[in-house]
Amino acid sequence: MAVADEIREKLQAAFDPTVLEVVDDSESHRGHAGFQEGGESHFNVRIVAEVFGPMTRVARHRAVHKALGDITGRIHALALDVSG
């Protein structure tokens, strides 16, 4: 499965989001640290879910990291926009 699909699946299951966008942005980091041929190194995620409402920013990001499990260790960068 493509990493973007894995990310989408895990976040969908964990947060029942109203907005979920996962973009493999690896190509725009060509030549930067962590870039690998074939992409799947840099991702942008935008997620909106009710459960994030009362959380602090740091707590929101931690919740997303936790839901992604080992994926965060396999990719180079994850840009997150999390809101409630």
Partner: protein, 120 residues
């Protein structure tokens, strides 16, 4: 606590503002570290930089210490403020200005406004 966790605790306790980053504030080694260091430099914030690439122990240690999988990481007065996304967001919506003001940390307000104008 492990030795490295003790070292990190000391850094966090002894520096009002400290940025754990890849590279140094003069020569960042990663775009995300570069962005946060660049903002702090431009805003004239007095901060300590810790190059996590200096040792494998520090590179992993800071992730375990904060329970945060990525670098850069910004600490202010002993508190973890966030990584690149959070700091960027706080700069652009001026929340960081308020945070610094409330915590008595000096910065150049005009420079902060310029960043926002450039990214409006």
């Amino acid at each position: 606590m492990s030795d490295i966790a003790n070292d990190i605790q000391d850094l966090v306790d002894n520096n009002t503002v400290v940025l754990f980053m890849k590279g140094t504030k003069e020569m960042p080694q990663c775009g995300f570290s570069s962005r946060v260091a660049g903002v702090l430099n431009f805003m004239g914030v007095d901060y300590a930089d810790v190059n996590v690439l200096a040792s494998d122990e520090m590179r992993q240690g800071i992730k375990d210490f904060t329970d945060w999988p990525t670098v850069p990481q910004l600490y202010v007065k002993g508190e973890f403020l966030g990584g690149c996304d959070i700091v960027t967001e706080m700069v652009l919506n001026a929340e960081l200005d308020t945070y610094f003001t409330d915590n008595g940390i000096g910065f150049d307000k005009d420079a902060a406004d310029k960043i926002r104008e450039a990214n409006a």
